[in-house]
Amino acid sequence: MRAGWVAGIAGVVALCVLGRFGSDYLLEIATLVLIESIAVVGLGFLTGFAGRISLAQGALYGVGAYAAALLVTRTGLPPLFGLPVAILAASAIGTALGTPAIRLSGLYFVMSTIGMQQILWILQMHWSSLTGGPQGVRGIPAFSVGGLVLDTPSRFYFVALIGAVVSYLLARRVIASRFGLFLRAVSDDELASATAGVPVLRAKATALALSSGWAGAAGFLHAYYLRYVHPDMFTLDLSVIFLTMAMFGGYRSLEGMLLATAILGGASEYLRPFGQFRLVAYGALLVLSMMFFPRGLLAVLPARRRR
């Protein structure tokens, strides 16, 4: 436990040093990895703790990004107002579309999330009066808090770093809570959970709401990262990448998910010349990780299993 805190603080210090001295190019990549880690940690509530696999996280990330982008460009409100709006929008849409399906068993739930992913993409692409359609949303201002404009890669990197750290710490709280324990029980045995007094459906719906909310928060940051949103940023490809990160990194290990996001997110940048074939590598990795370490990356390391 104490060793974990030391490692965590050392990691944050290292990331701060990176933010101070890293090149702009490196910081752009690192910023994206930090933002994506938030969406992946959120997805972890479903994959690791509720035993449900979702392929809609990319679209919900998009909902958060669009909510932030539209709010700031249409109303001119300060950027930070967009954060609760992005979280609530993604959470509400994810819960509304996902809850009817959450009682379904594994495979059927996955299919329904693919449907959710496609519906949201189509809305982003074709509901032009709201979303700008294939034009996307341009003209997103630089992120600012109060009078402080965080427009350089280094400055915005620290915004993403704070976001990622808060996301991780809150997620830890959630998992250690009563609700987190209920979720783990439900993913072990739904019937026994009901007999032990656990509100099974409510627990799974809450996991979905949290997972979507985390995607929304990540999407919010993404909108200010590129300062431009377009439907093709939030396709099924992105959902596959998020799922690979969550599964590869950690069945029930937030730290594993962070590590996998860093490795795969970093690697993805260097695989960019391969274009579409990058996804082949992700698909293969997903299959291999399911075959050889279904419990995630950190489970392979010599154990000091769960706290």
């Binding site: 609700f179 072990d188 007999t195």
Partner: protein
């Protein structure tokens, strides 16, 4: 206390329960016996809301609980164990019992996330309650062990602790002594006696006649989804219909 009234249930035309009626009185240990496939576990599943009966009613303390979902039945004060143990294998022994112990704590998720004092108090109270239940069944020293790595006899006792943490008025036990060594059976028997002594009424499905005869104040015998006898243990042991059902079942096996 528990009133099962003409409960019928069929699975795809195969009759599992053919109009079963029985009564369990407050404070008693009722034995439910019968050959394999006679409907004992099915009856438990109907009482606890896992199956909906095709006809008939289940009443508990005067109120109908027919068709309630499993969690609602738990709230009325009925807890159960399963014949094929259904623990949470990825949780520790203590966490297995924390799940039911935390069910009453009212603090919301937001309170947990913000670390409010009320949430921490609730957690502490549940932990104390769960620990007490573990000590009661003799697993006090195993709290931090993974439930998946328990020996078979310990799994039975963990299931009992998990049910007790719900503080039930009525406990349904589905073959708690199955697969145990003779010594463990005697321990299980005295454990059930101690639970009963705490004022919990018990319905016990069990094959081991020494456990049943020693514990139960009354016995109901099922065969092919029907009640074929009910009465005091001594009378049941002499009942020709019961003897025939058991001898017949042995010949079938």
């Amino acid at each position: 206390m528990l009133d099962v009234d003409a409960v019928q249930l069929s699975f795809r035309g195969v009759r599992a329960l053919g109009g079963i009626s029985l009564e369990l009185r407050e404070g008693e240990v009722l034995g439910i016996i019968g050959p394999n496939g006679s409907g004992k576990s099915t009856l438990f599943n109907v009482i606890t809301g896992i199956y909906q009966p095709d006809a008939g009613a289940v009443r508990f303390r005067g109120a109908s609980i027919t068709g309630l979902d499993p969690r609602a039945v738990v709230k009325r004060g009925i807890a159960r164990t399963y014949q094929n143990k259904r623990l949470f294998p990825s949780l520790t022994v203590l966490e297995n019992v924390m799940v039911p112990a935390l069910r009453r704590e009212s603090g919301g998720l937001l309170g947990d996330m913000l670390g409010l004092p009320s949430a921490r108090d609730g957690w502490r109270a549940a932990r104390a309650h769960a620990t007490e239940c573990l000590e009661f069944v003799g697993l006090g020293t195993m709290a931090e062990v993974g439930a998946g790595s328990l020996a078979y006899g310990q799994q039975n006792r963990l299931e009992l602790a998990r049910a007790l943490a719900l503080e039930p008025a009525l406990l349904l036990l589905d073959e708690p002594a199955a697969g145990l060594t003779p010594d463990e059976r005697m321990d299980m028997r005295s454990l059930i006696e101690r639970i009963h002594a705490r004022g919990v009424s018990v319905a016990l499905v069990e094959h081991d006649m020494r456990v049943v005869m020693g514990l139960c104040s009354r016995i109901v015998v099922l065969d092919h989804g029907e009640v074929i006898a009910a009465g005091l243990p001594a009378d049941i042991a002499r009942d020709p219909a019961v003897i025939a059902a058991y001898l017949g079942a042995q010949a079938d096996d």
